[in-house]
Symmetry: C2
Subunit: 422 residues, 2 copies
């Protein structure tokens, strides 16, 4: 493991940090929307102006011992990546501000006027691993949505996160907003995760993004609600009435475009009625790009050369050029497979039969269900939400990609003229 | 404590019950809305037809040893109370069905059509104490919203809950829906609460309604999200620009209409500028109806005969004819008091100054904020939500009164025509 631990005596305790964040949250939640927008513009400019400094900090992280090539690739910042982040921040700055939006308004027969109004969640605690730019996404989404953020990045990206954090605080300050609105947990040691999770009453919601071990730890220990961005074990189901050419293009994109993202399809389900004709084509398309397969018995009766899939395979998120294949007897069998193995992230059906598509979409247990398109579209930016702090597969809202408008709660405002309850 | 424990060997274990509920939930979530409506109509009719049987079961509970008069009053069913419940169920049957409602719909530049669709939460676990009719409210709200319910009432109402449960299951069966959609945890022993709280993956959301000890236990032990209906330490703030006559009427209603409900005002905050003239009137109005007071020093400098309030008093939900009084120096001082002592349920401001009202409503940390009306209006029925399973004071939605349209989550449906992600 990378070290990165910077233990020292001057780190303020978690409750001090969280109180500072809470005070800043109170200001961010009620300042004019234009001030939050200005902070975002300053952050975007700061990312561009500070590119050299940011790359130098990133080199310090990369020089740490014992980083695997996989970690290196996730960790590395380039001028292009930073420009991409700056553009996302600019896009957020151009978005409609969600704070105070009236979600519903109505009047009761007694004349009481009621409104459900979007209001920031308060203080978000963000715990993540891997890419340091995840922290910038989280911070700028928090600013757009009027929330404060306590950020705890992975120890392996400590210096990068610190340098990015500096840019964000400068952006806040230049817009006249408190720097404490985005605070970095300055010690990257693992004991601080526990401190954050116990800070119920100070941190309103914890957002966790990382590997299964981290997510499960957070869900078990947290004393406040958790928004968990975890595995994406996604399925694409090719129904008997699918357009074959569309299915070939979409399945290839869903598995191979970027095999390592959470919205990538891990398992292909295909109806027995069309499998003999279509499955060999699908497999050939993907094999030509280096994909390998794990197939159930029914699929191997068509393509005996495919390796046999185990139960464990169907429960595995490969995040790689590997595809599980199961031949199913219709939509109910496809749904049964999904209910059993899906991580409740994203599933797709490919069919020209609208009634079957509706039936499937109504019954899928997952946060996102697609019809005739690629599961790789599961992304807050692609959905037009203005980015995402993660894709949540829990049951309660916010579910699916969580952008600024989803990082909100609501309050009820009731306006009377002296009504008394009888 | 009342006993009511009916331990016996044939009680199915929690995971068996929860699996049966989950299967029923799958049917309830996709059946035509009219079938859920029919079930509700049958439940309402069953409550009316079965009045004698229900009252007899209730008498068995009342005959249990060691019930305090307070418990007796909460526990007792009458023909009138049952008719009131039946009318609520009829109202629910007449409501718009929330299942499948399109919460938002838009199209992306690449032609993808997106919809956010309301979908039931799945299996609700409800743990409550006190009034047996709370279980009927929960069950019928669950039916309206397409959710299944596992119901665990207080041991003191065991026979009443059992008889009411029978009426609900008959209503489901008559509408052709599975009786398992509403299951009662048949053993009222406390160990079953723990079993429910560990049933993550089987129960999607736990709803708890009861005293502080029960709510805190559930929040600490539950392995799934919890919707907690807990204390209502509500404030009414009489601002310097209040209409005095309106303030007198509203404060009296807010404290005394029904002193024991969670939306009752426990603490009066009043601006120093108007306290010398108005406070004596307010106190006289309430004292005439048997109310007593706990007053801070500033209030006692106006009315020295009032008993002094301690910190503890301001943190106490009296649920009785007792009112805390604090004289404050303007809206920020009122907000500071509320932030410190409020249980985040409901607060009210009484003022003719719209700018101050807006300022107050934007900054109150609570789920519900009222302007020129009584905090006693905090109620899902009064809000027009079709009843409530509770009033939630947590930060994440659903917040405030939770009616059928709030007992929902959402899924994203994405409809493409073969789009590939670039």
């Amino acid at each position: 493991m990378p070290t990165g631990t910077q233990t020292d005596a001057h780190v303020p305790p978690m409750h001090v940090l969280a109180r500072r964040a809470r005070e800043a949250a109170g200001i961010l939640a009620v300042c004019p929307a234009g001030q939050r927008t200005a902070a975002l513009r300053h952050v975007a400019a700061g990312l561009r102006d500070g590119t050299e400094t940011l790359l130098a900090a990133n080199r310090r992280d990369l020089e740490q011992a014992s980083l695997s090539p996989f970690f290196q690739e996730r960790l590395i910042l380039t001028a292009e990546r930073l420009e991409g982040v700056a553009r996302s921040v600019d896009a957020l700055a151009g978005m409609e501000d969600p704070v105070g939006q009236v979600l519903a308004a109505w009047q009761q027969p007694n004349g009481l006027k009621l409104r459900r109004v979007a209001t920031p969640l308060g203080v978000l605690g963000m715990i993540h691993e891997g890419r340091p730019t995840v922290g910038v996404d989280a911070a700028t989404l928090a600013i757009r949505s009027g929330n404060a953020l306590l950020l705890r990045g992975g120890p392996e990206s400590f210096h990068s996160t610190q340098a990015l954090h500096h840019v964000i605080q400068q952006g806040l300050a230049r817009a006249g907003l408190p720097e404490d609105a985005v605070l970095m947990v300055p010690d990257a040691g693992p004991e601080h995760v526990g401190d954050m999770l116990r800070a119920a009453g100070l941190i309103d919601v914890t957002v966790v993004r990382g590997g299964r071990a981290l997510v499960e730890r957070v869900q078990a220990e947290a004393r406040m609600p958790v928004l968990a961005h975890a595995a994406g074990l996604c399925h694409s189901y090719v129904h008997a009435a699918a357009d074959h050419e569309l299915a070939r293009r979409v399945v290839r994109n869903a598995r191979l475009r970027r095999p390592g993202i959470c919205g990538a399809t891990e398992t292909l389900l295909i109806d027995a009625a069309i499998a003999p004709g279509l499955l060999p084509q699908l497999v050939a398309d993907l094999a030509a790009e280096g994909c390998t397969f794990r197939a159930d018995e029914a699929a191997r009766s068509i393509l005996p050369e495919l390796p046999a899939a185990t139960e464990e395979d169907f429960a595995t998120e490969w995040l790689d050029k590997v595809l599980n294949i199961s031949v199913v007897e219709g939509v109910d069998a496809a749904l049964a497979h999904i209910v059993r193995f899906s991580s409740r992230h994203t599933e797709a059906i490919l069919t020209e039969d609208e009634a079957v598509a509706q039936y499937f979409m109504q019954r899928v247990p997952s946060a996102i269900v697609m019809w005739n398109t690629s599961t790789q579209f599961s992304d807050g930016g692609e959905f037009g939400l203005g980015g995402e702090i993660g894709i949540m597969s829990g049951r309660l809202p916010p579910r699916g990609p969580v952008g600024p408008a989803q990082l909100m709660t609501w309050r009820y405002e009731v306006h009377g003229t002296g009504q008394l309850r009888p």
